[in-house]
Amino acid sequence: MDVIVKTISRILFPFILLVGAFIAFHGHLTPGGAFPAGAVIATGFALLVLVFREPDVEHKLTVSELIDLKSVSGIFLMILILSVGSLFRKELTELQTPLKLWSGGFTLFSNVTGMFMVITAIVLILYSLVRE
């Protein structure tokens, strides 16, 4: 790609990550949540894959790393929803102040973990389709 496109996307990429992280971490206070945040961050990776060559991007963030991240976050989400979220929810919400960033009980952790699930899913499918 062009030098201008490369430079602009290199500048823009951290801000896309920042917006996605904001949407995920504020999911329990403002509209948003895990799925929009994951979609936004995966859009940033799609920009990188389209602008730079796909093997260069994949060299930094390999497929096996993505699969590991996806499996770990999936198991964490399963533990969170199936057992811990219903057992210790009351104790955790008593520690937090409502309407602040540190609130929301287990929905905060679920949002961040679900964001990783969505990012890894979209980026893995993107890698496979672009290579094809």
């Binding site: 699969i67 399963m78 409502p98 679920s110 969505v118 496979s128 389709l129 094809e132």
Partner: protein
């Protein structure tokens, strides 16, 4: 024996249809808000139960957590399927 099974099957189907009509007739009318439903409970107790100010998020991740877990499972399975089908042909460097 086969004739008997057929008659029994028809009876079961008629019984199930009767139950379905009966339960549909007792549904609340369409588009009319009723305070007895679960929606009012979510609105009134969502903040103090889950601590999440965004009611959609508290329903998605907390009250209906199993549903979202199933959604994530579908996502996981779809990704693994795409990798298995497309990457198999490529003989890729890393997996």
């Amino acid at each position: 024996m086969k004739e008997k099974n057929r008659v029994f099957g028809k009876l079961v189907i008629i019984l199930l249809a009767c139950f379905m009509f009966w339960s549909v007739m007792h549904l609340p009318p369409f588009g009319v808000f009723s305070e007895k439903g679960v929606a009012m409970y979510y609105i009134q107790n969502g903040l103090e139960k889950t601590g999440s100010a965004n009611i959609v998020n508290s329903i998605v991740w907390d009250f209906r957590g199993y549903d979202t877990l199933g959604e994530e499972t579908v996502l996981f399975t779809a990704t693994i399927g795409v990798i298995l089908i497309i990457r198999r042909k490529l003989n890729g460097r890393n997996r």
